[in-house]
Amino acid sequence: MNQTAPTGTHVKESTVTMDAGEMRCDASPSDTSAPDPSCVVRAPIGLLAELTHRCPLQCPYCSNPLELEKVNTELSTEDWQSVMRQAAQLGILQVHLSGGEPTARRDLEEIITTAAECGLYTNLITAAVLLKRDRLEKLKECGLDHVQISIQDIDTAAENADRIGGYKGGSAKKKEVAGWVRELGMPLTINAPIHRHNIHNVEAIINYAVELGAGRVEIAHVQYYAWALKNRAALMPTREAFMDAARIVERERERLKGVIVIDAVVPDYYAKYPKPCMGGWGKGIINVTPSGRVLPCHAAESITHLQFDNVRDRPLADIWIKGDAFNKYRGTEWMKEPCRTCPRREIDYGGCRCQAFALTGDAANTDPACSLSPLHAEWAKVADVESHQGSPDFVYRRPGGATRKPAPEKTPEPSSV
């Protein structure tokens, strides 16, 4: 018989959020006490499985690398099923089936079945435009737990949404699929990447997510890596627009309490402190690319001196625990000043390694998103300047697109997958 009476908070909450621009893992699975400074390697809780880089959409803020992996390098069905089994054995709890567009894989059913059999909580992160109702129903039968659909704008601004995604009819199709998700009794999250071409619609986007029956909506300000960095001048909102959006989110969160959960991802150009990217390098999230490379974060390949292991060559657990790339920036030992002695070092881990590398040439430096970085002022000014200039044309996300000239500002025809 228990002796303690019920008091206070009995349920602590952690987020394992992955969206187009950022991943957060605020969970601290096994510690209820203070963080362990020596950083004992813990089991990851989330697996981001990028099943393919193929995608019918061409969003200019895509978080995939500029060099997209080709279809003939993709892992086989058996490879992915093995990854799922190894993930569960390693202690991973949730798998985020992402891409590119995961439904472009014809074997998604088999991958989900295996993941569900292993006890993994399965989350499909989809652009939805390839889905048919009977396939969605099949995925549910295979054990799919949750669906996250990305939108580019509200349905009454479908033309703008389709221009951003580079896919005609996409907005209407997403609305239809969202309806099926709810009809099938599955939980729905709407993910809305926010930038200067839709930031004026943040309130309407939240209402649209409610109308679609979503239990969660992510107001996900674009994070400027990969394609988004390439398109930064076209996407960066002004600080004023961002502040307005932030106020709307706060107000709506209160108004819609118990109706929809609103998660917001802040653009770090306008933040005082950097975000704890990945909730700490090699701490809670593991990322497998379409060809089987195992990364601590989906942008990690931009750090050119890191070597990544492949699930074809080495067990997942071994890579997580002993892999060079994972140990390089795990914990706090690798830090330089001002991070090393910073009281926030266990809170934000010095921000994003990829951003530090891209902008300072050394991934162990403080992320310039931090106000304590010597480069912060110069870096923050870029956002201010670019956001007040006219928007250049998008560089659409497509194979080889990063080296091409910007596409004209009209909706391109859908590309085949």
Partner: protein, 100 residues
């Protein structure tokens, strides 16, 4: 746009009959030796009492009946237990972990 929400916030009272929807999973994690609630892109970390309460939430028992069960088991004033459970359930309902 700007329509009023189609759904209403569920307010938890002693008459509410909370239940976890099928896509919310209360699971024992042997590796970490603890109970977990798996939810869409969320993890919840329930303590022993929360686990006990959630196991009683079958959509048929009312909050009042759950309070009765716990009042017998714990040596604490009924009102205290009731206030505690309602607060916990309201929080979980707001986060979509239970429906009522």
């Amino acid at each position: 746009m700007g329509e009023t929400p189609l759904r209403q916030r569920a307010i938890i009272t002693v008459a509410s009959k909370p239940v976890m929807p099928p896509y919310i999973k209360l699971r024992h994690d042997a590796g970490r030796n603890r109970w977990l609630i798996l939810a869409p892109e969320r993890l919840f970390d329930p303590d022993e009492i929360a686990v006990e309460i959630l196991k009683l939430c079958d959509g048929e028992r009312s909050v009042g009946e759950i309070v009765e069960v716990l009042a017998k088991e714990y040596n604490a004033p009924r009102e205290e237990i009731e206030a505690d459970i309602i607060a916990m359930m309201q929080d979980l309902a707001d986060k979509g972990v239970v429906k009522a």
